[in-house]
């Protein structure tokens, strides 16, 4: 199994945000997590990416237990994530904002910075090239020299993707990548996710837009009140009674 969680549980005081969730992510697929507001989806992401330590349970990535690793170490292993909102430095260009995304693959330190060593120059070039490459991948080449503050919501989402991709990930967790963008742009972002998968990157996303998920995902997990209530292909999920009751509100087709 590529990445899996075993009995993953997170309690915030008396509130059980994620309860005993077993979930496995298949390599090279688009995996989706859906569920009503407050179902624990984002918390689940935070547990996997090392933002919160779980109360109990395990996260295993490529056979290695990453449960207690800090998030920067998890990123180094090749697990990237995006946030619902991406805070960028508005007074700098998009390219400048993305360059730092490859920092984790570089070694130059303060001494390199002060003496402008060869290593620093080489690594700066490497980071810049990586940034240009990922901006091209997400379709923002023409916006590379725009100020980050002047970008549209959709462009910001793409920059978030670019930042995650600049870390050279094997798997990317996307937290509501299509929230707040219009239907046309949503399709563009869905195409981008498919492009990521065909480039060999596994995708796992949280999303509320049902139509998009049903078309896009290979596998869906449904959370409700922190518990996994269903897991399967979009077809199975659509016909699952528990899901219909909990989430789709009685109607089988969203």
């Amino acid at each position: 199994m590529f990445l899996e969680t075993k009995n993953l549980t997170k309690k915030f005081g008396g509130l059980v945000a994620v309860n005993d969730v077993d979930f496995s992510i298949e390599k090279g697929k688009i995996n989706a997590i859906i569920g009503p507001n407050g179902a624990g989806k984002s918390t689940f992401f935070n547990l996997i990416s090392g933002f919160h330590p779980p109360s109990s349970g395990q996260v295993i990535f490529k056979g290695k237990d990453i449960t207690r690793l800090p998030s920067n170490k998890i990123a180094e292993l090749g697990v990237a994530r995006t946030f619902q909102t991406t805070n960028l430095f508005d007074q700098a260009t998009v390219l400048d904002n993305v360059i730092v995304g490859h920092r984790l693959r570089t070694k130059s330190n303060l001494v390199d910075a002060i003496f402008r060593t060869k290593r620093l120059k080489a690594e700066e070039k490497q980071c810049r090239e990586k940034a240009i490459e990922v901006l091209e991948f997400v379709g923002l080449t023409s916006a590379a020299y725009k100020l980050a503050g002047s970008m549209s919501q959709e462009e910001k989402k793409r920059v978030a993707f670019a930042l995650a991709l600049a870390t050279d990930p094997e798997i990317v967790f996307l937290d509501e990548p299509a929230a707040g963008v219009n239907p046309d742009e949503t399709e563009g972002l869905a195409a981008l996710m498919e492009k990521m998968v065909s480039a060999g990157i596994t995708v796992c996303l949280i999303e509320h837009k049902m139509q998009m998920i049903m078309k896009l995902a290979d596998k869906i997990m449904v959370l409700n009140y922190g518990e996994k209530i269903a897991e399967g292909t979009p077809k199975e999920i659509r016909n699952n009674e528990m899901v219909i009751k909990a989430y789709l509100g009685g109607s089988a087709i969203a």
Binding site: P70, A92, V100, A113, A166
Partner: protein
Amino acid sequence: MAAFFKQRNVIAALIIFAIIFPFITNNTYFVHVMTLSFIWMIGVYGLNLLAGYTGYLSLAHAGFFAIGAYALSLLTTKAQLNYWVAFILALIITSVLGLVIGLISLRTKEHFFAIYTLCVGYIIYLVIDKWDSLTGGIRGLIGIPGPGNIGPIEFTTPVSNYYLVLFFLLLTVLVMYRIVHSLTGRTFIAIRNSEDLAQTIGISTMKNKLLVFVISTFFAGLSGALYASFIRFIGPDIGYISITFDLLTYLLVGGIGTLSGPIVGTVLIVWVSQQLQFLQDYRMLIFGPVLTLLVIFYPRGIVGGIAESLMKRKQKKQAREEQLVMAKKSVAATAASNENR
């Protein structure tokens, strides 16, 4: 004309001006004020890297300034060490204390960090004030030697002191410029924008914050050590909170998170307060409202404000050019489609 005002030329002009300044004025008092401004600038640069580029507002800065000053003074007067040995030791002592305090204080964030460091700064002041046997308490320390000779070069005249401090200032600016424009600097800026995001893209935030905190205290210590050997006597008041806020004011007026902000802010405020000496403490009646207005309308100070308007103009120009290209294209397209008909 625009090329004339290129960054490189402006910097060169400023350095030349700073070098010939003592010959232009012939007024020792002006040279004295300028030297003092340079010393403050070094401290402000340290604060800028931490507060401006990494987003952690430390209010213990005067404390570290005082530690640098006292370390140098005690090592030269009481321990009778060679000046430059004491100088280097003073910087090491300040940085090590910075490391220890950073380890604890960086566990807090945002305003909690500011309040915590405010307390740390005050405790440093109290220790200096009350530890009579070591620091001389309220009487302070006198008879601090000036900078020792380096080979044949002596630092006995005000002008030679001016050049020594200028040398350290230029070194500071160079180091800051290189840090800010390196991957390390980008890492700091990423932490300022969003610590969570920085961590998810694989940056060890604690390690980098600690690094920046130590660099910042190092420059506070450098500034303090130079101050002690320039003024020749020090008291506990140099570690008082008001010094921290003086440094912060210079930074805010010049431009927090900009490279030239510390210079602009310090020169401006120091000279304006010299000119307003006759008003005594009433000059605060002028400074207060001006500072408030500045923070409201130019949150990134004078330099930040100018940079932003330049940037906007450039963007507008770009947008206009793009529109022009688009218009030309559409004209060409209509022409082509007309031909096809």
